[in-house]
Symmetry: C2
Subunit: 358 residues, 2 copies
């Protein structure tokens, strides 16, 4: 709803400064800027530098742009999987990634648990690539960092890829324990949709080159070698979403100014008060019961038969929750907890929920 | 150059109304609108309807969104070519499409002529798909409509695909003579980059389904069946560039109000006066000599050793030409002639060029 706080987990509430940056972009001629200019290269360098800083990405990781995280799923399979990837599936998005591997004629395997649950232990099965969804946007399950970081030891020969689409910039990764990380900008970064960011190390580049040398097609303009070679010159293979790259750089700069530690602390505070409110409420429960798996950035409420009424009640207070995903639309509401959502908005949300009594 | 008229053939001069529409988009909450809403479906329907009307596209053609025309090259090969496509190559972009077919492990063939030239006759060789570049952005060669429309008769069993990236909405196609047409929005439609539009008929859908039934991978989220099935519900498989789809619909609406016939007539007038000026000039010539192949929408000037000086001279008058493409950067300038470029701007360009005397 227009004018309301948008708690949908992506596209979500815009970061506070986006509209001002958009106005400035028009003043600077960014919407019609040719991507084959020094000006664009400067913008691209600034954005990549900001992402590197805010997420603590080591120099030996490359940062490249795609059009969406959905595209990145396809590029991962094309470039990094000759035959078998192994997917940890616990919701609609992790499941979709597994399906994409099937559609690209690979033979993916999976460890699947019911929606709303996490995983007990890392599978011992060896595979070319481990696909982890750090934050399952459909169900609000966040995998513990220890779990994600455990694969390097148990699967030394596998590439470890992490979907953190609806969690970044909140989580802190140990980049020595993963090979690839990715997100899209319409979630935690609070920007208009239309850009994916893919972070990949040299092991990924080597794997793609080895597949190519074997005569396997790894795609064309958005193959890893093509993306990385253009990125080394602050360029892109195709005409990209120039405006998206510009706005992302500006918002990351704002977030760095505010301080990523502060943003992370506020994320934890906001998550804590909302989970507490859900736990205390007589008619509502957190969907994810096990605290170890409760997402800090996408909080799913089990609202049962009250779903429509709670939604209407919140909207009357200027608070627009996200629907439950897929079949859960009738029985759940989702609340994004992104840097664009202020403490005050979360406090209002919690107070308003407390007032709802059926 | 900021504040100048941008004659680069894409990203190019913004259409007059884009900034106003962007402001309105923020007022309506479009930049953070969820794509899984009725509001988005309404926007998508409006945009597709506008494109259908302005280009005269029959109902049995589907209109779907990708992230760029570069992506469409890849999707065409993935979905429509089992083994052999045949490419008419006369510049950097038609050449790149042929390369993409090679990178996707097909066995494409080509008819190649030197840059700046068109083709004498349609090759008789039978193939699965004919790839035509109606307007070669790198050289300013536009293929005559008769040539494009001749393939249906000579190649009844081939799918005929037409790249009109830097020409639309100017050219008028006979949709009974082609199977697919595509463009990106940062050229003739005068919008920020980050969206491709792909127009496909049922013969393309059938071919993709037949390939899939044979066990050939046709991609995943952006396979033709996936794109078309989502489009039938005014939806997209992934989170798309929502803002781009909204803005395109608004600009097309503006163009329809102004009248596409008027836009086409003005395009012809502007092209005529610029070609005349280049022909008359002592130091400058049109790069494309044969009038039958001179593009109306991307006009390339052979500026030889005067290139840098002419560029500086024009920029001093608030006119920013596009560089020559690739190696031609040192000896050519390119002038986009899109609906965003007014008659007055072209008259100023012509007058200013006439004043340049070395």
């Amino acid at each position: 709803m227009k004018g309301s706080v948008n708690f949908t987990p992506g596209p979500s509430q815009l970061y506070f400064t986006v509209e001002d940056h958009m106005r400035q972009a028009f003043r600077e001629g960014i919407p019609s800027l040719s991507h084959r200019t020094k000006t664009f290269e400067g913008i691209s360098k600034h954005t990549v530098g900001g992402i590197r800083q805010i997420l603590g990405i080591p120099d030996h990781f490359h940062i490249v742009f795609t059009s969406s995280a959905t595209e990145i799923w396809e590029r991962i399979v094309q470039n990094l999987v000759e035959e078998k990837s192994h997917h940890f599936v616990n919701g609609a998005f992790s499941k979709r990634f597994h399906e994409i591997a099937l559609q690209l004629n690979r033979k993916p395997t999976k460890t699947e648990v019911p929606e709303g649950e996490g995983f007990k232990s890392a599978d011992k099965q060896q595979t070319e690539l481990i696909a982890l969804t750090q934050n399952e946007t459909s169900t609000g399950v966040m995998l513990p960092m220890d779990f994600i970081h455990s694969f390097r030891e148990t699967h030394p020969d596998s590439l470890i890829t992490v979907d953190a689409v609806s969690a970044l910039p909140y989580p802190v990764f140990d980049f020595s324990k993963i090979d690839s990380l990715y997100f899209s900008i319409q979630k935690g970064f609070g920007l208009p949709a239309g850009l994916g960011v893919w972070i990949i190390n040299d092991a990924c580049v080597t794997k793609a080159e080895r597949m190519q040398a074997k005569g396997i097609s790894i795609g064309s303009y958005h193959s890893i070698p093509s993306l990385v070679s253009h990125a080394s010159k602050n360029q892109t293979p195709e005409t990209p979403n120039v405006l998206g790259i510009y706005l992302l750089g500006k918002v990351v700069e704002d977030m760095l100014r505010r301080g990523i530690d502060m943003i992370r602390k506020e994320t934890e505070y906001k998550a804590a008060i909302l989970y507490h409110a859900l736990q205390q409420h007589e008619l509502i429960n957190p969907f994810v019961q096990d605290k170890a798996f409760q997402s800090k950035t996408v909080i799913v409420a089990d609202t049962g038969t009250h779903t429509e009424r709670i939604k209407t009640f919140l909207e009357a207070h200027g608070l627009s929750p996200g629907d439950g995903y897929g079949k859960a639309k009738a029985s759940q509401l989702r609340f994004a907890n992104f840097p664009a959502h202020s403490k005050e908005q979360f406090e209002l949300l919690v107070d308003t929920l407390a007032k709802y009594s059926g």
